[in-house]
């Protein structure tokens, strides 16, 4: 072997280094657990050969990771679909822009948002923590401001005004949600616990002891940002207000993690396909893109979901402020992410968005956040199929779970749908 790992430059070397590291991890693992038995005499892992530096590997691995999975673009870095340089509305349609200025936008960034918030306080019923509606309102206002340039660019691509673009996008997403059903992707044995033991879904805040290593700070902060959940009066909890902008620098009060655990949001998805299909094809098979989280598609009663649900058209992880969750009963266009790539920009979104089961806007799946508990009473039907990745054994397990529940609750209207 003659590779020199002190000079890590060519791409080939990165691959070799990753393979070398993986092989060493395997050797270390096998040294301890040969053939499924623990080798007690080996207390600690074997040391790395001198020829390889973990630090170098990490740097290389990071470079590789950036190549493979680039960070989502900020709105300011938006790419246009055109072949020419990015254009501005000033260059394009000065008359229209002038006309837009004359439109009374009210207190908000656009007339669409102004209309959206009319009657917000009175007419929108959303169960959850007391702060949820106010937090969502703030997030919408902030997100629209932050993403304004994206909307401007998309509108220009279509040759329409920004107001018109927002109006069309709003109408589109309202229509999509209206046709959608709400689901939870659930594991068979989790369903058993839900239906025959706990009577409701639980989050990891309830199932984990509050100690390392499964710290919950990240999720707690995310839910505080999205919903004001367990919001503390301590202003230092605001990530933006810390000197470095890092939340590892702040001490999260214990009560933020401990309080109201049973009320933490439960995560699911929405789809307009009757069995809860959600993938590039809009049908099952192939399995849904959420089947890794659970291949049993539990459909939630829509009338109940609309009272306790917020939605995003993407996984909200890391996108809490950019494209925030808004109520399913009254979704706002800021919940739709426009920052993925040029191929998913303006015109394509407006013209080709049709279905929430066929993901064609850059996200892998939609997301639903159920508030104020998700219980067995909320279930409309349970959809299972081998085509969604369930084994025959798991299908049988779901049948047993359902049968047991029905025996104990003969009045229940929950349906088991095998497809």
């Amino acid at each position: 072997m003659f590779e020199k790992f002190t000079e890590v430059k060519p791409i080939e070397s990165k691959e070799i280094i990753v393979k070398r590291l993986a092989r060493e991890m395997l050797e270390r693992f096998r040294a301890r657990f040969k053939g499924g038995e623990k080798n007690e005499h080996i207390k600690e892992s074997v040391s790395l050969p001198e020829s390889i530096s973990t630090k170098e590997i990490k740097v290389v691995a990071e470079e590789e990771k950036q190549k493979i999975a680039p960070e989502p673009k900020q709105p300011e870095e938006f790419e246009t679909t055109g072949l020419s340089e990015p254009r501005t509305t000033e260059e394009a349609k000065p008359a229209e822009k002038e006309q837009e200025k004359k439109i009374n936008k009210g207190a908000f960034e656009s007339t669409v948002t102004n209309s959206y918030f009319e009657g917000w306080d009175e007419s929108i019923e959303l169960e959850g923590n007391p702060e949820i509606k106010e937090q969502i309102k703030q997030n919408i206002v902030q997100a629209e401001k932050t993403n304004e340039q994206t909307y401007v660019n998309d509108a220009y691509d279509l040759g329409i005004s920004v107001e018109e673009f927002k109006s069309r996008l709003q109408a589109k997403i309202e229509n999509m949600i209206e046709r959608a059903s709400f689901f939870s992707a659930t594991q068979p044995f989790v369903l058993e616990k839900i239906m025959n033991v706990e009577n409701r879904w639980k989050s990891q805040f309830e199932t984990n002891a509050s100690k390392t290593p499964l710290c919950q700070e990240a999720r707690a902060i995310s839910e505080m940002k999205m919903f004001g959940f367990n919001k503390t009066s301590n202003s230092s909890m605001s990530i933006m207000s810390t000197p470095t902008g890092r939340y590892s620098d702040i001490e999260i009060p214990k009560e933020v993690l401990e309080n109201n655990k049973e009320k933490r949001p439960i995560y699911g998805y929405f789809s307009d396909e009757k069995h809860g299909a959600i993938n590039g094809d809009g049908k099952i098979p192939p399995p849904t893109s959420v089947s890794g989280f659970g291949a049993v598609n539990v459909k939630i009663k829509k009338e109940r979901a609309l009272k306790k649900t917020t939605i995003t058209f993407h996984d909200s992880l890391g996108q809490e402020n950019n494209w925030p969750p808004t109520p399913a009963a009254k979704p706002h266009f800021t919940s739709f992410p426009l920052s993925y790539s040029a191929s998913f920009s303006g015109g394509k979104i407006i013209n080709e968005l049709e279905s929430t089961s066929r993901m064609n806007w850059g996200a892998k799946y939609t997301e639903v956040q159920y508030h104020n508990n998700l219980t067995v009473d909320d279930i409309e039907s349970i959809h299972i199929s081998a085509n969604n990745g369930l084994s025959a054994e798991e299908i049988e397990e779901v049948r047993r779970t359902f049968k047991m529940y029905k025996e104990q609750h003969p009045e229940s209207t929950i349906q088991l749908v095998e497809f």
Binding site: V18, K19, Q187, L214, Y267
Partner: protein
């Protein structure tokens, strides 16, 4: 020391990470921590994905220290070296988090 580390369980499902990424869980760079879901019952290893995605979608439970070796033993007995190498070690090695400079 880079080695696989079972971090959470859900029935017969286990999430494994690279032990070197452990300090990042729950912290500012938690979103960068990747994991691999292993179905010990059906002998299925899923593709690598952000740990936080799994943690938010299901009620995962922490794995106690005394359970960790048992899980690793089971993993070692149910999967071949090729599977462990190609589906666990290599993806985890590729996605190591670069330590912060500051």
């Amino acid at each position: 020391m880079n080695e696989i580390y079972p971090v959470a369980k859900l029935g017969y499902l286990v999430l494994v990470i690279n032990k070197d990424d452990l300090p990042f869980i729950g912290k500012e760079r938690a979103l960068e921590v990747k994991c691999i879901k292993v179905d010990l019952k059906h002998k299925i290893i899923d593709p690598i994905i952000e740990l936080e995605k799994h943690l938010k979608f299901n009620p995962w439970e922490e794995i106690a220290d005394e359970e960790r070796d048992i899980i690793l033993q089971e993993l070692g007995s149910k999967f071949s070296d090729e599977e462990i190498f190609g589906k666990i070690m290599e993806p985890l090695a590729e996605s190591l988090i670069k330590p912060s400079q500051s």
